[in-house]
Homo-oligomer: 341 residues x 4
């Protein structure tokens, strides 16, 4: 059976496992005060060309979003996000559980538009009763989005500009950031992200690590007391060096982008193959998630050989499906899937 369900079906990239093995019985202090973590932070700041950044390592995406957003917002503020955003739909109310409303914006294949953000803020403060409503206190975006799509550098600049005019921080959820950086034709780089966002995270869980997300606070004034919040949110790993070791390895000799590149190129082959067979590409994603609209009988047939997700409810004749590649997907698996089309 071939598996294209998600990009978190395997453990870690072998180089990371190897380093975890080598260092396994070393003794270090806890909570990320070790040398591995210190070096990983330096490597990330360097990769971001952002020496003033503060870097923290957390375990998973939902906890990272909840902790960062809780830290960025005042009590009377909410977070603007696309209706389709992970924080709005699939985090079991983690944002609300820490007291904040998600203020939804229209989603364009997972992306938000600067004009909509600007409009939201303008309309809000124009409303005479605005103090009875939840103030837009920050903007959440994901890159790639939940639909595998990417912002262009121009779009990101616009979002950043609009947020700065409105004095609200811009936060990027980079759960799959590696696959964005590795996309063909993208002009969005890590240093640009660090320059344009106030806070973002570089996802490890879905890009080669056992687990782990690197929060980069490129503008530390917006989030001055992050560590106790990490502890309060139960997001502080006792053996913090496990995160340090993994991210040090990922950010040595470009491993992070290299393994992401592998997943993206397989995804492009998959897209080309589906398209060549005449199937409808539902969303033209340049990253490792691919969405096709297939006839139901074709879906049933493929499911005998491969696992993948239905994207939304089954339609009457056709249904949207998602195929995901990862750093771990063997080329042969893609070949085999293509041969089955």
């Amino acid at each position: 059976m071939l598996h294209f369900d998600s990009d978190y079906m395997e453990g870690a990239h072998p180089e990371l496992m190897c380093r975890l093995m080598e260092t396994n019985l070393e003794q270090t202090v806890g909570y990320g005060n070790d040398e591995y973590t210190a070096r990983a932070k330096e490597l990330i700041k360097k990769a971001c060309l952002c020496p003033e950044a503060r870097v923290h390592f957390l375990v998973g995406g939902t906890q990272t979003n909840a902790t960062v957003i809780d830290g960025l917002l005042a009590r009377h503020e909410g977070v603007m996000a696309a209706e389709s955003a992970h924080i709005n739909v699939h985090e079991a109310g983690a944002i609300e559980a820490s007291g904040h409303k998600v203020l939804t914006l229209p989603s364009y294949e997972g992306k938000v538009r600067a004009a909509d953000v600007e409009q939201y803020v303008t309309d809000f403060y124009r409303d005479e009763t605005y103090e009875h409503m939840v103030a837009p206190g920050m903007l959440y975006i994901s890159h790639p989005t939940e639909y595998g799509t990417l912002y262009t550098l121009e779009e990101l600049r616009e979002l950043s500009r609009v947020c700065r005019v409105a004095h609200i921080p811009l936060y990027m959820d980079g759960a799959r950031l590696g696959y964005a950086l590795a996309a063909d034709d993208t002009d969005v780089t890590l240093p640009e992200i660090a320059r344009l966002c106030d806070v973002f995270y570089i996802g490890g869980t879905k890009v080669g690590a056992l687990f782990g997300e690197a929060v980069v606070i490129s503008n530390p004034t917006v989030l001055p007391h992050f560590f106790p919040l990490v502890k309060q949110h139960g997001a502080l790993l006792a053996k913090g060096r496990l995160l340090g070791v993994q991210f040090e390895t990922l950010f040595t000799e470009g491993l992070y982008e290299k393994i992401a590149r592998h997943a993206v190129s397989l995804a492009m082959r998959l897209k080309d193959a589906f398209r060549a067979k005449g199937y409808e590409v539902y969303i033209d994603s340049p990253t490792n998630q691919q969405f096709f609209r297939l006839p139901n009988e074709e879906i049933d047939r493929l499911m005998r050989y491969a696992t993948f997700e239905l994207w939304g409810p089954r339609g009457r004749t056709h249904t949207v499906v998602r195929f995901v590649t990862s750093w771990a997907t063997p080329s042969e698996a893609v070949d085999e899937l293509i041969s089955l089309l």
Copy 2:
């Protein structure tokens, strides 16, 4: 340098690392719906002689406490705990952040007394203004406590009885539970704990795992909707099988208790040696944490060879220190330390 700072200075027990390596490139579904996790749950239920239990795996202790307590309490209720309890002191307000007050009881070397619990509940409902106060909604205990001490079976039975009479759940924080089970002369076993507590957790992070805590809900009626809370608290590991693989290994052929036994026997040797040298044993702990009251000059001398924690502020002439052994402490390290006394 010898290290006796804590029991989370190394990675995982080699058998666990080995299994993580062997299974690393296998593909499984996420969030703990895999076969490893299923088997680990069965092994734990069997070890607890509690087939009706529900078992969930979380990543760390603070998040486990916050999630369980949040699930057990109604909004108007608080959690009773010893003044010295980890949840009251060292979790950065995680309990309060989810809306609940910690109601403190006197601490006797980290333990609470059934009579105090009973008194608290009785006094509460006798007070005419009780509906203006936070109701005692559950009891939190740790075993071993933060001071390495243990409840006897009789004490645990009394706590359980008092809680059941008061209709409040009893929850045990077992961050170091292995070291309790492996202690000499303890009459508290896993099946007794499962029978007497409503919920407890079996700590992995400090007893052989990279990370991970196994929450055992032995009385599922008190916590019917735990999974979405785990997600909401950001405590759901995407690659849940990492927890499954580790706990399956720990609960195969008695590994969990075996490695805990190693730590405890080293700790006993340490205690005997300090005592033989005439030093004051500050708390007579039967587990892997040992507390001595040493002259300051002796502390300074030892610190040239070994790391360990000052327990509280430095005194004028003497100071209490903590030495911790773990599953990973080499016998030779203890020998060497003893030779230095």
Copy 3:
């Protein structure tokens, strides 16, 4: 200047003020444990034909909604409500501040449809990832809605049926309930509301009282510990008898409906007059709030004589406006306004 801005521009109905004066220097115990409050509760239970109900008096609407909803929901649940619902838009995030998400349903002139509720619940549990999402834990409706519209008895029965099938409580925000009960042709009565909803409140602030909302828990099993929550939410009035005195008066000799009837009949005259002049009735409200779509120049002209609210942003040629009558609106004010059209 004539005022039609809202129904909370005056103090209390003279009979209430009179009773407050008469009883002013009497000494009673606090927090609603007095005789006035006891009698008011009995009168309300009688008016609802619901002897098993529990009645509590709170001060204002937002606090009532936040307290009731907080009590009805488990931590992993959210509240379904129309997109336009007061709790979703104009309560400054009070629901989220106590940890809960508002799950929005389409709004039909402020009303929700049973079919949409049913669909939401069905879709939710059909989704394989539902435990990663916020569960629909209750339904919030308002009657009259924010647009002055009313449910029919048949619609309310359907909503109640759908909620009971889904095992979720139905809660009605009755901030303006008097004006609903006093509407022409409505078949929804207080006893029917008590029978079909699990909890609802009878608004005093907007219907004759200085302040005060009577929460009726007609199904006490869904909200067993309400009093401490009221205190915790800061919603407990020290001099609780002020609420008791006012509601006792409102529910003596039908005063509540009588004064509401006055407001409604004036509102109907207003509607007829606008319609007769050829103006567009924007929403056909049978209650004390009336919405017209007027030419901007007509708005500007009227604003020289009367105050009223623009409903939403000013349009290019026409704008929707709201005129509100209350128990206190003099007939002459309506006459004068009509003469100005």
Copy 4:
């Protein structure tokens, strides 16, 4: 029967009721944007000699404390307060419900000592694990305290100094502030309070108003967005002018202090009488709450003629009782009580 249970047994001072009656049918905008409220704010700022202050009117004490404290604290911070503080004991967990821990200090007849505050802060930041603990983010004091005692100006200055050195705001709960200001020999005045505290409130509920507390933010930088928090906490009164009318009256021609003075002088007569009869004055309170330790048979005898509170559980032979006077207590009632001793 004579009543000395509390200072919130009656309605409002007749002058306030009179003003509420006179203005009852006037029409004003809601939420405190009316002229009465504006004038009341000016009068209070003037009485505080603090033109830069911002003043807000809320309904009750628990909600005021919860709202102010929520606004003053960052998420990782808690509020220091005496163990006996109202927020720690009798507010049903309102502080924790908004996410914050109460950090307790020793209570000296309800007061905290500057040295203890200083020690707490110093010890906190000296602890190497301080980022795992709840940071002291503000200081809560009450004046008078729950035991009727008062700070001296010197004590208040010290507290203020310690807080400013530690960069944490000082907040005073003035639920009974009038009775403090009216005490004999006190050197603490309203302008001094405004100068030394960052935020405080002037209690109306217990000093002549139907309800209402005036929050004075004398240092607006510490609480820049208070209004939306008031709304979010359900503490915004729709008919805000009711608060404005009452406080305008209280702060016209010194009414607030005058009626408080009445209560205090009666309390002093009571204390002298009990003392003269040889009874033990349990706490030497200079304000309207008096605490005596009486023989149980004397308590039983007095209870036939008067109501008052047992302060804590009944002792074997003696019990502490509380007698409270208020602006409304008739001199004759005190005469009669004294004649019964």
